[in-house]
Amino acid sequence: MIATIQAWFQQLYETTGFNFTIFYDPYDWDRYVAGLRMTLILGISTILASLVIGAVGALLQSGPSRVLRALVNGFVVVFRNTPPLVQIFFFYFGLGTLLPDIRSADGLRAPILNNVQWAIISLSLFAGAFNVEIFRSGIEAVPRTTVEAAEALGYTRFKAYRYVVLPLALRVCLPALNNNLINLLKTTTLAYAIAVPETLYAVKQIWSESQNVLEMMLVLLATYAVLVGVLVWIMHRWERALRIPGYGR
């Protein structure tokens, strides 16, 4: 089966000149798959982390502490008003050099956080800032009287948030959240700039060695189209699963 596919693409190259090396050259294929795996690691970890940042930020933003509210607002302004690529550079080249090094197992000096970890941190904060605002819009749509009912039943503010406000707010803001998470998945390509070997980085390496820019571009576009398609499908399933019978009608 694999041999047939490889032979077909080899044939395609020889007859037409379209050189999809990754489909017949195991070395290029492995590089491409490694890139894809890194993109998935970046995507999944930043989606989860940004959701937590958004939920916690929105809780603090609607909370009683003025200091915390100001901090969250400041965080949102900083991360929403600056380009994500600049943020990644700031974290990796700016903050990264300030942190002390550690000795790795083989006695070499290594930074405490490597480029992958910095990429995850900065992308999570970037998308998290948007998620704070998205969750806030959902929270504001939950009727005050529903929260009051929870309070009257003895719920603390946190428990009311956890069991009543957040589940309802989530349903309201899912469409906006979908958009932001899709954007986040595509923004993981910026990690390329600090040499994180994700899909764009791997594909770029392949095309500069195999001289097949157009073919690998097509592969790259198709890869992200499929990845986003899968994310959209998951989010729509989630939306359907959360649908409440008889609600909002």
Binding site: P143, T146, A149, L153, L168, R171, Y247
Partner: protein, 259 residues
Amino acid sequence: MTRAPLAETPSPNWTPDQPIVRIADVHKSFGTFEVLKGISFDVRKGEVVCIIGPSGSGKSTLIRCINALVPVTAGSIEVEGIDVTDPRLDKLALRRKVGMVFQQYNLFPHKTALQNVMMAPIHVLGQEKREVEARARALLAKVRLAGKENAYPGELSGGQQQRVAIARSLAMRPDVMLFDEVTAALDPETVKEVLVTIRELAEEGMTCMLVTHEMNFARDVADHIYFTDRGVIVEHGPPATFFASAQDERTRRFLSQVL
């Protein structure tokens, strides 16, 4: 995660022979507007008290002060010896004793009827799920909603939702129930099914405080009626004397309009 059930909060300075709710000279202002201008009365255990009066007379504000949803500006409220106006008030201890039902039902729309009733005892009191579920099913049957356990609030009529809300409140085993215009949002046919439920509660000896516009219901179930207007109690008394021989001009005018 296992949580130890919370111990009953004892109220050492209160015994059942004392009023269960004491309201003393309560004032409440929203900004410069004074809604309550010195309200005082006591409610004894097992009593049913109705608060009536024109819109904007502060009835709902008063009832919301009793479970500390609204802080009072001056005066004091005690429920079973718990000082509601104490800044260090243990709100959970208070709200275990005081159940509340709202005009707009305020059910949790993302949970089924059964889950609505079960949530607070599990989340707030940390009670065991199986025991709570049995109690919740019994409560739904009690408010005549057996068979609707798995319906979502959006699939129930207003009257059914309000009865779920009553069951939800009862699941916390309160000593006092507050009803804030609970039939005002219902259509006339469903008003009755909710009132029947409240009447049964009253007959079982539950202490009830109702803000209501249902004069006939107030006459039937109340032990005592308070008429409020512009933030003060204008007149009060047991229903027989209150409806038959109101003394104050404002009361008489109000009654002539609503009866």
